[in-house]
C-alpha cells in the first residue's frame, strides 16, 4: 500500500472548495436580503470531507479512475447547497439527544459515505471475496430483505425501513449492491453458455433456461419481496439493472425486450390489482385531474419546472416554501430535481444531468478496461444502478414515467442512499485500481 499522487482528482475537486461556500453565501444573501454570507461551517465541512476522501485514496495507494470522486462530489455539492437552503426542521435526525437539521444530518452521511467509499476501495482491492462468495452475498442480502419484511417500519405505505436504535436505514440500498455482485458473479461464470445456447419453444428462441434458472429464481424472489413491500421504484430499478446486465453479458436485445414485455404485463396486472399502483399511474397520465389531491406534488413539481425557465429563478430565489410550508412536501427527497431546475433553470438542471452522465461514462469506461469478465460485469452493474436510478427519478419528476419514490443518487436527502452511492463509487475505484495495477505489472502503465 504505497501512497500515490492523484493530481487530476485534486484539480477537479479544487473548484468545489470555492463553489460550495459561494453557493451557501448566495442562498443566504437571497434569503436574508443582506450582504451577509452567513454561516460557513457546513460548507467547509463538505469540502473537507471530499478532500479527506481524496487524501485517504492517495494514502491508500489507490490508482483507480480519478474522475469518479470529483463527479460524485460535484453532483453531491449541488444537492447539498439546495438542501441547506430549505427549511431545516423538516427532516433531520435526533442522534442521542442531539437534534440535527437536514443539512447537518446530510453532511454526517457524506462523511460516513466517503469513509465507506475509501474502506471499500481498500478492502475489495482483491475481488476474490466478492467473486467466490456470490451465493453467500446473495444469502446475506436475502436475510436483510427478510428482516425488513418482518421487522421493517412502514412509511408512506411502503415497508422499507429498518431501525437500529435511533438510526434508520433502507436495506433496499444494500440489497441493490449485493444483487449486482451476485448477478455479475453468476453471469461472468455462465456467460459463454448463455450467449451461445438457446432453447427453442416452437419458433421462439428463449434463453437457455437451465443455465438461467438459479439466477432467475433468486431474482424473482427479490422482486417478489420488493413488490410486496410496495416499493415500486426499487422494483423497477432492480429489473432495469438485471436486464441491462443480461444484455451486456449476452448481447441479446431480445432478452431485454422480453423482460420489458414481462414488465409491462406485470405492471398492467398490478394496475388492476393494487390501489396504490392505480393512483400513481392515473396521476401520471393526468395529474391535473386532482391538482390539490393525489396529483398535488406532481403538479407542483411541473409548476416548479415552469417557473425555472431557461435561466432559473436564481439560486435561493425559487418558491420552495409558502408561509413556511414546502409546496412540494417531498422536495428534499423525491422532488429535489424539480427544486434545482426551478432555481438553476434548464441550463443548470441539464448541467447536473451532464455531471451524472460523466459519472456513468467513467463507470462504463472502468468496465470496458477491466481485465476480467467479473470485474467488467460488476462495474457495469454498479454504474447502471447509479445511472438508471438517476434516470428513473428524473423522468418521474418530469412526468415521463410514473413517479416512484426513489432517491436521486448523491443529491436527495437520505443517509442510506448516500452511503450506498459512495460504496458503489468505492467498488468502482477498486475495480479500476486493479486494472491499473495489472497495467503497471505488464509495464504499460505509470
Amino acid at each position: 500500500m504505497r501512497a500515490v499522487r492523484r493530481p487530476v482528482e485534486l484539480q477537479m475537486l479544487l473548484p468545489l472548495a470555492l463553489l460550495v461556500p459561494l453557493g451557501f453565501a448566495v442562498t443566504h444573501i437571497a434569503e436574508t436580503g443582506t450582504l451577509d454570507p452567513g454561516p460557513m461551517g457546513l460548507a467547509i465541512g463538505f469540502v473537507a470531507v471530499m478532500f479527506g476522501g481524496h487524501l485517504a485514496l492517495r494514502l491508500a495507494g489507490n490508482r483507480g479512475d480519478q474522475l469518479l470522486l470529483p463527479a460524485a462530489a460535484a453532483i453531491g455539492a449541488v444537492g447539498f447547497v439546495m438542501l441547506n437552503r430549505l427549511p431545516q426542521s423538516q427532516l433531520g435526525m435526533d442522534l442521542f439527544g442531539v437534534e440535527m437539521g437536514m443539512a447537518t444530518t446530510q453532511l454526517l452521511w457524506f462523511a460516513v459515505g466517503i469513509t465507506a467509499m475509501v474502506a471499500v476501495a481498500v478492502l475489495f482491492r482483491d475481488d476474490g471475496i466478492l467473486r467466490h462468495y456470490k451465493y453467500t452475498w446473495a444469502l446475506g442480502g436475502g436475510l436483510l430483505l427478510l428482516l425488513t419484511f418482518l421487522f421493517g417500519r412502514e412509511v408512506n405505505g411502503a415497508r422499507l425501513w429498518l431501525y437500529l436504535g435511533p438510526i434508520g436505514f433502507q436495506p433496499g440500498e444494500a440489497i441493490k449492491i449485493v444483487l449486482v455482485v451476485f448477478i455479475a458473479g453468476y453471469l461472468a461464470e455462465k456467460r459463454a453458455l448463455l450467449a451461445g445456447a438457446t432453447t427453442r419453444v416452437g419458433p421462439i428462441r428463449i434463453p437457455p433456461l437451465p443455465y438461467l434458472l438459479p439466477m432467475l429464481a433468486i431474482f424473482v424472489m427479490v422482486m417478489l419481496v420488493v413488490v410486496i413491500s410496495r416499493d415500486l421504484g426499487t422494483a423497477l430499478l432492480f429489473l432495469g439493472i438485471f436486464l441491462t446486465m443480461l444484455f451486456v453479458a449476452t448481447g441479446r436485445r431480445s432478452y431485454v425486450l422480453m423482460g420489458i414485455l414481462l414488465f409491462v404485463g406485470g405492471a398492467f396486472v398490478a394496475y388492476q390489482l393494487f390501489g396504490h399502483v392505480r393512483v400513481r399511474v392515473d396521476n401520471w397520465i393526468d395529474p391535473f385531474v386532482d391538482p390539490s389531491g393525489t396529483g398535488y406534488q406532481t403538479v407542483q413539481a411541473l409548476y416548479a419546472f415552469g417557473r425555472g425557465g431557461l435561466f432559473g429563478e436564481g439560486l435561493g430565489q425559487g418558491l420552495p416554501s409558502i408561509s413556511g410550508r414546502l409546496p412540494i412536501p417531498a422536495l428534499p427527497t423525491d422532488f429535489i430535481f424539480a427544486g434545482i431546475a426551478e432555481e438553476l433553470g434548464l441550463l443548470g438542471a441539464t448541467a447536473l444531468l451532464g455531471l451524472a452522465l460523466v459519472l456513468v461514462f467513467r463507470g462504463l469506461r472502468t468496465a470496458m478496461l477491466a481485465r476480467d469478465d467479473f470485474s467488467s460485469m460488476l462495474a457495469v452493474g454498479l454504474t447502471v444502478s447509479l445511472g438508471l436510478q438517476t434516470l428513473i427519478i428524473v423522468a418521474g419528476n418530469l412526468k415521463l414515467v410514473p413517479l416512484t419514490g426513489i432517491t436521486f443518487p448523491f443529491v436527495s436527502y437520505g443517509g442510506s442512499s448516500l452511503l450506498a452511492s459512495f460504496v458503489i463509487v468505492g467498488l468502482l475505484l477498486a475495480v479500476s485500481h486493479r486494472t491499473a495495477l495489472d497495467a503497471v505489472a505488464e509495464g504499460r502503465g505509470p
Binding site: G251, G306, G309, M368, L400
Partner: protein, 514 residues
C-alpha cells in the same frame, strides 16, 4: 464482446439522458407559459398576494377596480357591481375570473407584453411593472343596462357592430366582489353568502348562460336562406296559410303555430312572416335550406364553437352555442327533419348564449360580416393615482379585427329591411314595437329587431328575448346592436323588447352628447 455491448449500453444511456433533457426543455420552455397561467400555481398566488395590481378603467377613464397594499397583502376594491362579471374578481382565496383572470399576468406584472422584455427581466431578475387595463365598455351604458334589468335574472349585451367593441355587458343578479377579494382570512363569510345566493349571481349569463332562443333564431334561418338563394324576400309557401291552422306535418310529427290571436292566416312572404313570427313559414325555410347547410351557416355566425372576446392570444372565453345536439366540440348532425324544422324557429336542441345572439344581430347590421368582439381596449402604464384617471401611456391596444363574412351584403340588406319591418311594420309593431328607439325619445332613426318567446315546457314561463340594432335603415351606419334576455320574462314583446329599445336609445343619446 462485452466491450462492444458496454459501448452500445453507453449509447442507450446517453439517449435516455438526452430524452430527459429534452423533456426538461419541454416543461421549462415550451409549457412554461401555460403553467404560469394556472390559478393554483404558487407563483400566481404569490404575485396576487403581495404585488401592487394594476387598475381597471371603463372606456371613458372611469375607475372600476384598483388595489392598495396594506400589511403586505394586496386588497382589491371594485367600484361598480354592474361590472362584476366582465371585470371578474382577483381573490387570494377563490382564484380569479373575467378580465382579472385573463389579464392577470399583465395586471400584476408577472409578465411583460413584449416577450423580449420578459427574457430580459428573467435574466436581470427584474419584475415587469404592473399595467392598467381599459375596457371598451362605457360605464354610463353599463349602469343603464343593469338598471333596466332591475335585478331580474337575465342579461343585456350591446356591441358596436362595425368594430366589435363591447359597449355594455350586464348580467343579473350580480354580486359585490370587494368583500372576498381582500384579506383571505376574512374572505370566507362573504364568499359563502354570494355563492349560496339564489339565482347563481356568480354566473356571467352573457358568456356562460345557456338558453333556448325561440323566435330570435329565425334571423339565422332567414340569413342562411337569403344568402344561399333558397328564398327571396318575395318567396311564399302555398301550403302555409292552411298549415297555420291545421299544423305542418313533418315526418309524421305535427308542427303547430303559436297563438296568432285575431290574426287571419294569409300567404306571407319573409317580411310578414317575420312580423307575425310564423313558425310554419320558417319551418319550411329551414327544411329548404337543408340540414348540412343550416349547420354550416350557423358555424359562419360563430355557433358550434366556443366564442372569444379578444384576440387569439388573449381573450375572455365564452361558451359555444348550438343549433343541434352537442357532439364533441361542435354541433351534431340533425337527427331528423323534425329537429331541423324546429331549430329553424329556435326550439328543439337549439341552445345559445346572449353573446352569440348579439353577434348574429351585429352581423346583419354590419352588412353580413360578423365582427370580432373584444372587451379590453388597451393596456397602459400603471397610474399612480387611479382616481385621477388612467395614464396616457398606452402600451398595447386590442381589437381592430376585420371580422369574417357570414352572408353576402345583399342578403344582409334584405334581412335588415325585414327586421326593420318586424319592429315598425303594421303587424310587427304589435310584437316588437317596444324595441323601437323612437319610443324612448330618439326620432328619425329606424330600429331593426326581432323578439323571441322561448318555450320551456308547460307551466314554466318562457324566456323573453330581444335582439336588434339601430340605426336599422339601409344606408345608415349602425352604431349599436343588442341582445336582451329576461329569464322567465314571458313574451319577448313584454320584458325584453322595451329594455333593448331603451338601451339602444340611451346609447344614441350618449353618442349625440346628450
Amino acid at each position: 464482446m462485452i466491450v462492444t455491448n458496454i459501448r452500445r449500453l453507453g449509447f442507450y444511456l446517453l439517449l435516455a439522458f438526452a430524452v430527459s433533457a429534452g423533456s426538461l426543455a419541454w416543461w421549462q420552455i415550451w409549457e412554461a407559459p401555460g403553467l404560469a397561467d394556472r390559478q393554483d400555481n404558487p407563483q400566481v398566488i404569490a404575485a396576487r398576494r403581495s404585488a401592487p395590481r394594476g387598475s381597471i378603467f371603463d372606456v371613458q377613464g372611469q375607475l372600476l377596480a384598483s388595489s392598495t397594499v396594506i400589511d403586505g397583502i394586496s386588497r382589491r376594491t371594485y367600484l361598480d357591481p354592474a361590472f362584476s362579471h366582465v371585470v371578474g374578481y382577483a381573490s387570494l382565496r377563490y382564484g380569479a375570473t373575467g378580465v382579472e383572470r385573463t389579464w392577470d399576468d399583465l395586471l400584476t406584472g408577472r409578465s411583460d407584453p413584449n416577450p423580449l422584455n420578459d427574457l430580459l427581466n428573467d435574466v436581470l431578475d427584474r419584475r415587469a411593472a404592473p399595467r392598467d387595463v381599459t375596457l371598451t365598455i362605457d360605464r354610463r351604458l353599463q349602469d343603464f343596462a343593469a338598471a333596466q334589468l332591475g335585478g331580474l335574472p337575465g342579461a343585456v349585451v350591446a356591441i358596436d357592430p362595425r368594430t366589435g367593441a363591447i359597449l355594455a355587458m350586464a348580467s343579473s343578479p350580480t354580486f359585490d366582489a370587494t368583500a372576498f377579494s381582500g384579506d383571505p382570512e376574512t374572505a370566507a363569510a362573504p364568499w359563502a353568502v354570494v355563492a349560496g345566493s339564489p339565482g347563481d349571481p356568480l354566473l356571467d349569463r352573457n358568456r356562460r348562460g345557456h338558453y333556448t332562443p325561440g323566435s330570435i333564431l329565425k334571423v339565422l334561418t332567414a340569413a342562411a336562406a337569403l344568402d344561399a338563394g333558397v328564398i327571396t324576400p318575395q318567396t311564399t309557401y302555398p301550403d302555409q296559410p292552411q298549415q297555420e291552422t291545421d299544423g305542418f306535418v313533418v315526418s309524421g310529427f305535427t308542427i303547430r303555430e303559436h297563438d296568432l290571436g285575431s290574426l287571419q292566416p294569409a300567404l306571407w312572404p319573409l317580411s310578414r312572416a317575420l312580423q307575425v313570427s310564423s313558425n310554419i313559414f320558417f319551418a319550411h325555410v329551414g327544411l329548404d335550406v337543408g340540414a348540412d347547410r343550416f349547420i354550416d351557416y350557423a358555424r359562419r355566425f360563430g355557433f358550434c364553437a366556443p366564442l372569444t372576446l379578444g384576440s387569439a392570444s388573449r381573450a375572455l372565453a365564452a361558451d359555444a352555442s348550438y343549433v343541434s345536439a352537442r357532439a364533441d366540440g361542435g354541433c351534431a348532425p340533425f337527427s331528423d327533419r323534425v329537429e331541423l324544422a324546429s331549430a329553424a324557429f329556435g326550439q328543439a336542441s337549439v341552445d345559445v348564449t346572449p353573446l352569440q345572439m348579439v353577434l348574429l344581430a351585429a352581423a346583419v347590421a354590419n352588412d353580413g360580416i360578423v365582427p370580432d368582439p373584444f372587451v379590453v381596449r388597451d393596456l397602459r402604464a400603471h397610474a399612480a393615482d387611479p382616481v385621477a384617471g388612467p395614464s396616457e401611456a398606452v402600451v398595447e391596444t386590442y381589437g381592430g379585427g376585420s371580422g369574417r363574412r357570414a352572408i353576402s351584403s345583399a342578403a344582409a340588406g334584405q334581412l335588415r329591411a325585414a327586421m326593420v319591418d318586424a319592429v315598425h311594420g303594421l303587424i310587427g309593431q304589435v310584437y316588437a314595437g317596444a324595441g323601437s328607439v323612437a319610443r324612448y325619445g330618439i326620432d328619425g332613426v329606424l330600429t331593426a329587431g326581432k323578439t323571441g318567446t322561448a318555450e320551456r315546457g308547460p307551466e314554466v314561463a318562457p324566456h323573453s328575448w330581444f335582439i336588434g340594432f339601430a340605426p336599422g335603415q339601409n344606408g345608415a351606419q349602425p352604431s349599436i346592436a343588442v341582445a336582451v334576455i329576461v329569464e322567465g320574462g314571458g313574451a319577448g314583446s313584454g320584458a325584453a323588447a322595451p329594455i333593448g329599445g331603451a338601451v339602444m336609445a340611451e346609447w344614441l343619446r350618449l353618442l349625440a352628447g346628450g
